[in-house]
Point group: C2
Chain length 460, copies 2
């Protein structure tokens, strides 16, 4: 370990981002077709960093780099790549190089890679695997997408529940092969149902004659193989789990999920929530113009429809506006404030639903709170905008109209911002998906209607 | 372990959310003042779930529950609570009960709790601790907030780098006390600098005479005690770390960070990004009306200022609008589409900056992409809205104006959506904070100006 590279090198100084000097050097080696320089540059890099590099360079540079690497392209790099780029890279890889890369991976990583591929590509990879791995992968693929069965590794260390520490240690020391990473020893009963676990640290520090069942951890939890990976990530974070056994429909041990996989799922779920809230389906920095345009178009189209609806409301009051143009100047303020207040409420609600902090027990209290907050901020901004209305346009009644509309729209924003995500969640729809469009439609329509309606009633 | 409760009980069926039946039963026990029923209900619950329960009930119920629990209130529950609720609970706890609770915690959990408290409350808790714990906590508090030094646990297992597997195992088995959770054995040189680590699984499965330095893991990385916890969480996820040593300014081992803590930081950082993007400072479901109103007011005020700016642009064209009221009907569409497209770009950019996927190496390519995507979607929606303009209002030139304004605003939206977060990031400001307000100001102002300006030029 004396050759360990310095630990806080330049790459790490920049918050662990890829150093652009390294990217430059790699690109130059690719340009020159210098296979040796390239391979010595990549040798010093972590697969996750090489994956980042592949995502950050242009499509053509990437294709040339992959071709130059040939069989040296590590399977782990593939498993670190974004879906889109990964498909690209796999498409340009030599079939033998691909087979080599896949054979070097653990079966759960192979599953993670091939589940996104087309059937012919899947076939090609499956054929390249050893029999044991192929069977493991095919079995995992029978579980639903995004389930524990897909996420888990099949390699676990399990021992009979009645064993002692000494028996377990002897068994481990005699084992021909152990999983690459494991932190717990699972105890199973004769029906192969997991009944508890012991940390390796506890095992090492206990006397040989101690019964394993006397040193099990309280935190023990099992997951069904069909359980959604989002729930698993949540449970790992909530209960501070490190690893957990996965069981089949009969309760028998079939695999294990470790916290590093759960952490990655948590990160991906967050990304999904964030992107959905912003109306971006998916998308990474590596997508090209066509892909990105296609990802963003649908939500812009939804937004156009809602904006036209809001315009139709304005059109009802064309007459009023033509007699009082100041209304056209001020009306976007009411809509914008409503949209913002609604987005605040709905973001808090979407997050709280994801963290299970918004449940049947407190939903009514939270709804009441959002309405009261809307009222309080509505009144504050009503005073401010009322004064702006009076002093900018010199018409006290205009001030009153804008103040009233502000209060109405901010209360409705609070209400819509909490109720819409809760209803979507109850209906089994991801509240991050679509809440934004619904809420801003409500605040636009209510905002324009309240402001222009009050104006035609009170001003004309 | 035969008494292990059924693992997928009702509470877990509902995606691991608290069962409202349990909440109800707890509230009834509190209502009746039935200490015994309460304690038997809470005994069966995980501290994290009890914390959720405390967050979901009303302030008065919570105070009564805490009073009834008295000394039975577990320190772990405190460490699971949201900041706001925790301050509340600590405020209502009997000082002796609080001292008991804190004494039962690990020093890093104590640090996590007391760093948010007022000085007198901190003093009271520090005095209640044993000398060793107090010194550990006080030392941790000398590191900056949100640093590795605050996050780490001081208890580590380190052995000389030249030891063999047998020596290490004998040492562990003889150790009087080991950390509650540990997954690696750190190797240190005579200057106490960590130089590598060995997983416990590897240790257990290797022959006794094998040198530890021959079975170290490649993934080894150390962190400075002053390193920001956000970077640490990112590095754990990126490099799939399980635990990592923390070193002081001289490179000496001072503690260890484990992945469960890193996962929690990752989750909190995500929440922060999401809340900041939505203009919500902080805030949890347990905050009351006053706190929530105060959290949301500042960003609504910023939004009001930018909305007034946009109104000022409209006011420049009052004359045009009074001659052509259809403009007032259509102008919010242009602004709304620009705002949405800008939010899409900026959300993708903020996320990519957080995951280090947007760097100096690809920023120009991404900027070009965002502009091209804006142009492509702008053209698509220009055609749609041009036709709407023609058929709704029967004025071809109005269609042309709205189409042109759409293209201009969507290109600007793409540009602003990427450049503003990148510039904020370069300036050392969190791009999630404020990007939204800046971008929608740009799209509102540009949208209204382009649409109304083109209209006065081409239509009148």
């Amino acid at each position: 370990m004396t050759e360990t590279p310095p630990l806080r090198d330049e790459r790490e100084e920049a918050d662990y981002a890829l150093d652009s000097g390294i990217v430059q050097a790699v690109l130059e080696a690719v340009e020159r077709g210098d296979r040796q320089a390239l391979s010595s540059l990549l040798d010093g890099m972590h697969p996750a960093d090489i994956a980042d590099l592949l995502e950050q360079i242009s499509d053509s540079d990437r294709a040339r780099l992959v071709e130059l690497c040939g069989r040296d392209l590590d399977g782990e790099i593939l498993s670190e790549l974004d879906e889109g780029v990964r498909e690209d890279v796999i498409g340009t890889m030599d079939p033998d190089a691909l087979a080599d890369a896949m054979r070097a991976l653990e079966s759960d990583d192979v599953v993670d890679i091939i589940e996104d591929l087309d059937a012919p590509q899947q076939e090609a990879i499956l054929e390249a695997l050893d029999d044991a791995d192929r069977i493991a992968v095919e079995r995992a693929m029978t579980y639903p997408e995004y389930s524990a069965g897909r996420l888990m590794q099949r390699e676990v260390v399990a021992v009979p529940e009645h064993w002692t520490v000494g028996q377990a240690i002897d068994h481990l020391r005699a084992a021909a092969s152990l999983p690459e990473q494991f932190y717990h020893l699972f105890l199973v009963n004769p029906r192969m149902e997991p009944v508890g676990y012991v940390t390796l640290g506890r095992l090492l520090s206990s006397r040989r004659e101690v019964a394993l069942k006397d040193i099990t951890e309280d935190s023990f939890r099992t997951f069904d193989a069909t359980e959604d990976e989002e729930n698993i990530a949540y449970a790992f974070n909530h209960y501070h789990l490190i690893s957990a056994p996965v069981v089949d429909a009969d309760g028998r041990l079939v695999g294990m999920i470790t916290i590093d996989d759960a952490m990655q799922v948590l990160d991906e779920e967050h990304e999904e929530d964030m992107m959905r809230l912003a109306g971006v389906g998916e998308g990474s920095m590596a997508d090209n113009v066509t892909e990105t345009t296609r990802q963003r178009f649908p939500w812009l189209a939804v937004n156009l429809a809602t904006a036209i609806l809001a315009s139709a409301v304005i059109a009802l009051f064309e007459d009023t506006i033509s007699r009082y143009v100041a209304l056209a100047v001020l009306m976007p303020i009411i809509a914008s404030m409503g949209g913002n207040a609604g987005t605040q409420s709905l973001t808090v609600a979407v997050r709280a639903l994801a963290t299970r902090d918004l449940t049947g027990s407190n939903v009514w209290r939270v709804i009441r709170r959002e309405v009261m907050v809307g009222l309080a901020n509505g009144l504050a901004f009503a005073v401010i905008m009322g004064l702006v209305g009076v002093f900018w346009f010199g018409v006290p009644m205009l001030g009153a109209v804008i103040a009233l509309a502000m209060v109405i729209n901010l209360v409705i924003a609070g209400l819509a911002g909490i109720i819409i995500p809760v209803l979507l969640d109850r209906a089994g729809v991801d509240p991050a998906l679509g809440s934004g469009a619904f809420v801003t439609t409500v605040t636009d329509v209510v905002g324009f209607f309240a402001f222009l309606g009050l104006a035609s009633w009170l001003l004309l």
